[in-house]
Amino acid sequence: MNQLPYIIDDRETPKFWVNRATMVEQEILDLEKKKIFEKCWLYVGHESELNKVNDFRTRRVGGRPIIFTRSATDKINVLVNVCTHRGMILETRKEGNARNMRCFYHGWQFNTEGRLTSMPAEEDYPAGWKRAERCLPRPAHAASYRGFWFLCWDKEQTQSLEEYLGNATDYIDLLADQACGDMMQVSSGTQYYTMHANWKLLVENSIDGYHAATTHNRFLQMVSASVKESEFDARKGSKARVGVRRKRTSLKGNGTADLGNGHVSIGGSDLSKGKSRGGLGRAFTDSHLQQEHMLRRDEYVKLYGEEWTDRMLGGRNMLIFPNLVINDLGMGATIRAFYPEEPGYMDVTSWEISPPDLSPGLHEARKSDFLTFWGPAGLATPDDVEALARCQRGFESYEIDPWNDISRGMDKSEDELVGAGEVQMRVFWRHWNTMMTGAASELEAEIEPYEKVEKSDLIVRSRS
């Protein structure tokens, strides 16, 4: 194993280097599983994926098969998807609705609460054998914040989900509040794909504020063509000139917020004041849609005030440590969770999430705009898939030059930067390093921790 440190966090020079061995070596992945994925709260799914009682979804979380269900009694459950009899995978469908799930091996049957409800020849079991002791197992902890469900496999975990999320709850609120007191809704249609790259490369990529200009040139060409097209439409006089003036959505730098526990967000407020959908995506070519968008904005302002509305509608990329990304770019929002299968291979699952009560036109525009950017056939994500795979290929030479350089902006405040900095990635890596080595850094935090907004003054939580 490579004996060099995982990271070099040199505040004198200054420089921040990451050892590429952390992306390549199997021993490090094995350690990550033990020290990170076994310890942290991990994303399971969103409550709106289970709208009816007895709805279920199966997936893997932290390397284990789980069933995410809404029980007959209308409670959300996170169960281990393994028959307690002989250990076979119980439910093999990805999603469905069923009062009972039956293991086809010997016929043991469980309900959506995980209770063993029936089995052949129960009488043949010894006296004292109890069905109740053979319910489906559960992770050590499962909890939700505003519809986002997480589990933790670690019995020793002392932090509640809210404590673990820390200041990131504000950033989840920025998305969840868009439902105006209802529950945000995850769309049906899931993107199951992969990247031939180390999972931490997708962490970095998801909060990388400046790769867009080069990697996503294709997407930016599309945006500027759409602006031209809408201006052209406007000149033809058939439609009002709308939504074509775009401004930077973030302040100088990244608008980085260190949310604690390795969670971090970049992004800013909506300087267009609703005239564009977060500054990304296609320009509105339809004045009616633009109007609807402004009406929606007015509603937010009424409920939450100008300041919070601006933040809600500004683009943000957030990492919830270790492997959940919630990107809300105004024109749409994605939830993305990813797990390493091998050092150079990860499974990625992405969902779209929207307010449930958007007008059909706005909802359609949102889903369509989502696809212009995200997903394995969008105009941006495939380029990320490609870039990360090529990094991973490049890491084959890691013994020759083991260092990735993430020093950008280290001796400057965000205001002094000409472009976007990399402090958000350093926040991730420092926390990762602490968890892996067990030694907290003695160096002070590079940026002031984000402070939660005092919501009672600012925000009305729901319409009622």
């Binding site: 794909y193 599309m222 779209e352 889903k367 369509s368 898939v385």
Partner: protein
């Protein structure tokens, strides 16, 4: 009505279909396949109807019968986005296809029917072999076309839906070429 219902072809239709029309459809789909495999995407784009709405769709693998108004898909391009997709692939900024992969597609099981309104529905199965450096990937699927008379090759495409016959886009990871 879903795309599938609108364009459904029963086994009986297949037995009774106009073989001359099917022959024309096969010629058309073979021509399209050739243009895609040889990256003549501008010419391929000219196969589409020149005026009015058009749609190129790939449903997500878990919702092959997706309704674009309800489900999140992989691709849902209108004329503008499809033109952008073609343009950026041709100008080299579609990084997953730069350098270009080597593509070869097989098109078969072609059915073709004319509808009462004078439009046409073609269906076919496809397999695309994609090779890039040492990696070979296979993309099996089927496509449903709605077309009208016109254009250089006798028909113009109004709507094309390519459904990947995969349960997950794994291990492929992406579809950055045109199916």
């Amino acid at each position: 009505m879903s795309v599938n219902e609108e364009t459904s072809i029963s086994p009986n239709d297949v037995m009774l279909q106009d073989n001359q029309l099917r022959f024309a459809a096969e010629n058309y789909l073979i021509t399209e396949a050739e243009l895609l495999d040889t990256w003549q995407l501008d010419k391929w784009f000219a196969l589409w109807a020149a005026e009015g709405d058009l749609a190129y769709e790939i449903p997500s693998t878990d919702q092959p019968d997706a309704d674009p108004d309800v489900h999140l898909m992989f691709v849902r391009d209108d004329r503008f986005l499809l033109r952008q997709r073609v343009r950026s692939t041709m100008n080299g900024t579609n990084w997953a296809e730069n350098p270009r992969s080597t593509l070869r597609r097989m098109v078969s099981n072609v059915t073709a029917v004319e509808r009462a309104d004078g439009s046409f529905v073609f269906k076919c199965n496809f397999v695309v072999y994609r090779s890039q450096e040492a990696v070979q990937q296979i993309f099996p699927g089927h496509s449903i076309y709605q077309l009208e008379r016109g254009g250089e090759y006798g028909f113009v495409i109004r709507h094309k839906r390519s459904v990947l016959d995969l349960q997950e886009l794994r291990p492929h990871g992406r579809v950055a070429f045109i199916l």
